[in-house]
Assembly symmetry: C2
Amino acid sequence: MARQPSRRVVTDDDISDEFWGQEYPPVARELLASAVSCFASKGFNATTTRDITAAVGLSPGALYVHFPSKEEVLYTIMRIGHQRVLEAITVPAAGIVEPDPGTVVAELVRRFVVWHARYHTVARVSQGLHELAALNREHYELVAAQRHMITGVFRSAVNAGIDTGDFDVSDVGGTVRAIVSLGIDIVRWYRVDGSETPDELADSYARLAQRMLGLKIRD
Amino acid sequence: MARQPSRRVVTDDDISDEFWGQEYPPVARELLASAVSCFASKGFNATTTRDITAAVGLSPGALYVHFPSKEEVLYTIMRIGHQRVLEAITVPAAGIVEPDPGTVVAELVRRFVVWHARYHTVARVSQGLHELAALNREHYELVAAQRHMITGVFRSAVNAGIDTGDFDVSDVGGTVRAIVSLGIDIVRWYRVDGSETPDELADSYARLAQRMLGLKIRD
């Protein structure tokens, strides 16, 4: 179970400039990275715009040059975070020519787990319950649509394996939710200085997902 | 994936007076229930003592009659919450005379899942990352010891099934963590007005846990 998170969670996610996208100038990217650190360490509600700007050596007003509100900063982090997850699990898997459903699901779970372990600080914000609740209605609907697409990728892969007879699943929705849930819960406890690398964790969870799906070993 | 939590999370956990224990007078129990609601809806860091007392019609100073600090209120919720989980999973299962390991783990998972679904608001506080981080060192160590005991109950049950040959597990620690993790993640998305009852969810997760353990069906 979770070890105590450090009092001041530094973003050990090693977020590159490419993460945020080219449309954000360097200062905006710094503000986003600072906001990730602040929101992850004390939550959106307890973070002030001063907290976000002070960490990058700016006055509070500097935030409004780039974002109309603290909520918009949060939404930007969530939108880009979910977009990166979607990219991570939908880029075609290299080297798999005619993938069988068990291999496809294992690869999906691997990519999902590696992403959430590697970007656990960003994901802690974008999966945060208080953070989701803090989005305005329009922004929430947009993030919900992204989440729906992510679940849809898993659901399609599971249904494909049911159709071929490789998987034995009675409750598709519940099993898909459990597989996704297992991946998301990583952000609650994962630490870069822990005993497992993202890849090791990913292999372990890929096997557990195959078992949850009742994967039959082909002769 | 998670639907948007309501703006104002009311405690729909139906916490009875017995939940908190006899040592707390009625006013202290009301303050604890109010604190659960406040911490769950906006987080410990963004909750003031005024928020907690106002909801039960008292002045901020009234809190200090019963608790020395806001942190002590949080610790009390966490300590009792974890204690109730431990009680839920360690009371002997009635009606199982000579339980086989697969049945024992299924029953454990069922009880763990039912508890976390039924008390998801309390659990959202006691599993909260910012909340764990807000405990002082001594309190954190005490809660960590409770968490260690909870994991230990699952670990023993898994090891028993490995010893009898009922389970096929290569990574005991990782598999136990995954089973516990799946149960804890319920508190992120569970809602009483959702499509599944705690019992239905528990049955589903019990079967998934048996699969993760590679339970062999006995002849």
